[in-house]
Symmetry: C2
Subunit: 161 residues, 2 copies
């Protein structure tokens, strides 16, 4: 990506959060991905659901295709010209855990008076789900017990982003 401007230079950073943000970029990008996770595929789906300007949407979709989060495929409806549809790649579908975590945080910390708008559930059992830290045995660990510290060998040189 060439347009950096005032942004942190995260492309080559050792930090995976910095790299993830380099890809996911800004709020429009995250909202576009949220709609993709909710089944939006067509340019008009994204535009109409988000009320986003077409030029902004074109740019963000292009970045997501380039970054391997969305795949672009032509489709054609009877009587219309060929258009593009955007589908999540496997990497894009894995973002469900990021969005689940954001949603859960929003529900707890900036709740809407009418309650949560989206329910996290299992497609097969219907059970309500939450996003949590688990170890290799699948045992859940409380947030307070989680350490995200860098290993000593990754602390030098100091991560920039």
């Amino acid at each position: 990506m060439s347009k950096r401007g005032h942004r942190p230079a995260a492309g080559q950073t050792r930090c995976s959060i910095g790299r993830a943000l380099e890809m996911l970029g800004d709020r429009w990008t995250l909202l576009i991905l949220r709609e993709a996770l909710n089944g939006a595929t067509r340019f008009s789906d994204f535009r109409d659901r988000l009320h986003v300007a077409s030029d902004v949407l074109t740019q963000r979709l292009g970045t997501l295709v380039e970054g391997g989060v969305l795949d672009k495929h032509p489709y054609r409806e009877a009587g219309n010209r060929s258009r593009m549809a955007y589908h999540l790649t496997p990497a894009g579908r894995e973002l469900i855990v990021v969005f689940g975590a954001l949603q859960q945080w929003g529900d707890t910390n900036c709740p809407h008076p009418d309650g949560p708008a989206v329910r996290r559930s299992s497609k097969t059992s219907g059970s309500a789900l939450r996003v949590a830290f688990v170890d290799d045995d699948g045992t859940e660990t409380a947030f307070d017990d989680v350490d995200l510290a860098a290993p000593v060998d990754a602390r030098s040189p100091r991560p920039v982003a």
Copy 2:
């Protein structure tokens, strides 16, 4: 928040992701929060670790204090004037799951040649941790089995953001 400009109007949205993003805002805000989760508290910690311009940092810290994610407390070192330190509130500390999810996604989908820079682990047992969806019994659910669909009564009117 009054400065909307070209951004989605998410303040009153029913969607908790939109509300979370209204708070978390942009990439600088997320990087500031990442540093806060890594123990940064002083203005100079954030500025030096992120190479962020002071006016941008001041504005973003102010928004996070206003939003209840950071608390501001004065501190004073011998021979210096009083300065402000910024500590995560309980809501801020809960963001660890969002950052853990982002980091995990980045490690998998935009890996660094030297491997992950941060290890997610339990402070008490040292076990490696991952971010996952679990049900009330603590049973993990595969990403493919997760549904983030809106309940029918939340679909109307169509969520804007």
